[in-house]
Amino acid sequence: MRYLGLTEADRREMLAVIGAPNIDALFRDVPAGALNPQLDLPPHQGELEVERAFAAMAKKNVSPMDVPFFLGAGAYRHHIPAAVDHLIQRSEFLTSYTPYQPEISQGTLQYLFEFQTQVSMITGMEVANASMYDGATAAAEAVLMAQRVTKKGKAVLSGGLHPHYRDTIATLMDQTDQPHVAAPTDLNGSEDLSALIDDQTACVVVQNPSVFGHLRDLSGLAKACQAKDALLVVAVAEVTSLGLVTPPGAMGADIVVAEGQGLGVPLSFGGPYVGLFATREKFVRQMPGRLCGETVDQDGRRGFVLTLSAREQHIRREKATSNICTNSGLCALAFTIHLSLLGEAGFTRLAEINHAKAVQLAEKVATLKGVEVIPDAFYNEFAVKLPKPAADVVEALVQKNILGGVPAARLFPGEPALHDVLLLAATETNSEGDMDALVAALKEVL
């Protein structure tokens, strides 16, 4: 067994030093009958055998690398520069623990500080934490934080919010029977949430662009929130949009949460991803999650430490701002490296390409009979109305070796009105040939 450090001789010698007759003597506190159960598991295997087993499972999947691919809805295919994956696999990043001993963790701490800075910058906010699990859990944490800040309970959830975000928030709030109001599903991007905001409202959660792709100016909503002392929480499910779109901070957001997967993190069938969490400096002591701060060492040299830890579970226990401990450090590193490689010019360019590709795609599918592109303003994803159920269309496209978007029914199974709606995303990875193949195939299956 290649991963074990001890030999049989070592084991005998160590048992002798301990003074135990055999290994089971060390397990003497285990109740009788519970030790050494018969387990129906296969025996150990070499690398080659394990690789073969995984290759066989991989082969049963259709890789997005191999076919025209237009899926988004909260997870986006982007090209990840080779340096990103190389750097995050360096032993010192990959196999280190949470930086609780700062003298020998300055590498992790400095990149977390850089990550926090980058997140603050692109969201247009003052401060950001060192990451959450993903965009949806970050949104749920934002609601709890808004409750602490405002000392009010109710959350208003936009009808353009990704259902996974909506349900993650609702599930958490249901634990304490906190009121949450989900606005009707907003396919057309025309909702006005101000009527739902009252004196009990702690926050309004809105996604931009919405799950159907609508880009909206949220400054009016921000004012409506302010008028009722509620916080505006803006969720961004596609982080690369911030390279081109006015950031939520500039529209008056109080808390910005985002799914950071679009920068540096592979699709990986839905996880692990990285949640971004940014807010105003005055709320910093109400933030969830780890924070890295600048300080000096004993010799006066600049260094970094985890700070404001008294908010966290290992100190504050039941009064902590969150129960989060392990976050998404390595994905945050991938994000930071990718954004560092891009720089201002590259990040802007990447977003411009994404948008232009989506505009091209929208123009192409709009030529199809009976197909209607729903949003006027969007980034790299938009909903289209089809003349027949979108799930059937997507299955028919699979037969033509095309992964042709996400049927809205997959996310909104209880809403028949959305069964003809398809979500299409385009990124820098989509060639014009891919788009033409999709349009040609759609022509056949519609």
Partner: protein, 123 residues
């Protein structure tokens, strides 16, 4: 003007109608460098034993409880601006709040200096 203490290491000193409340020197030494205090707004009314403030050091956080019931009439802005003052002068300038007590008799249930000193020896 005698100082009385709770088992949670708050001190309270009555001067006329108004009592001053803080944490004991022992408490500050146990906490280490104080980095933040969260103080109540004047006007807040509390029962004896209710949480009135929070004090944080680098590696600990602790609630400060009202030794007696009453109304908060003043919070010490000086320790909000300079939390280290709690370490330097826990039982003088580093006080937390001033309160108008609802029942001065509640003071009698608290420890005097000698009793508190004896209590500390048991810890």
């Amino acid at each position: 003007m005698t100082t009385r203490y709770t088992k949670d290491h708050e001190w309270i000193r009555l001067d006329g109608d108004v009592a001053t409340v803080g944490i004991s020197d022992y408490a500050q030494s146990q906490l280490g460098d104080v980095v933040f205090v969260d103080l109540p707004a004047p006007g807040k009314t509390v029962e004896a034993g209710a949480e009135i403030a929070v004090v944080e050091s680098v590696k600990a956080a602790s609630e400060v409880y009202a030794p007696c019931g009453g109304e908060v009439v003043e919070s010490n802005q000086a320790i909000a601006d300079d939390p280290a003052l709690v370490n330097r002068a826990a039982q003088t300038d580093g006080w937390f709040v001033k309160m108008k007590l609802s029942d001065k008799a509640e003071l009698d249930a608290l420890m005097d200096q000698a009793a508190y000193d004896a209590y500390l020896k048991t810890l």
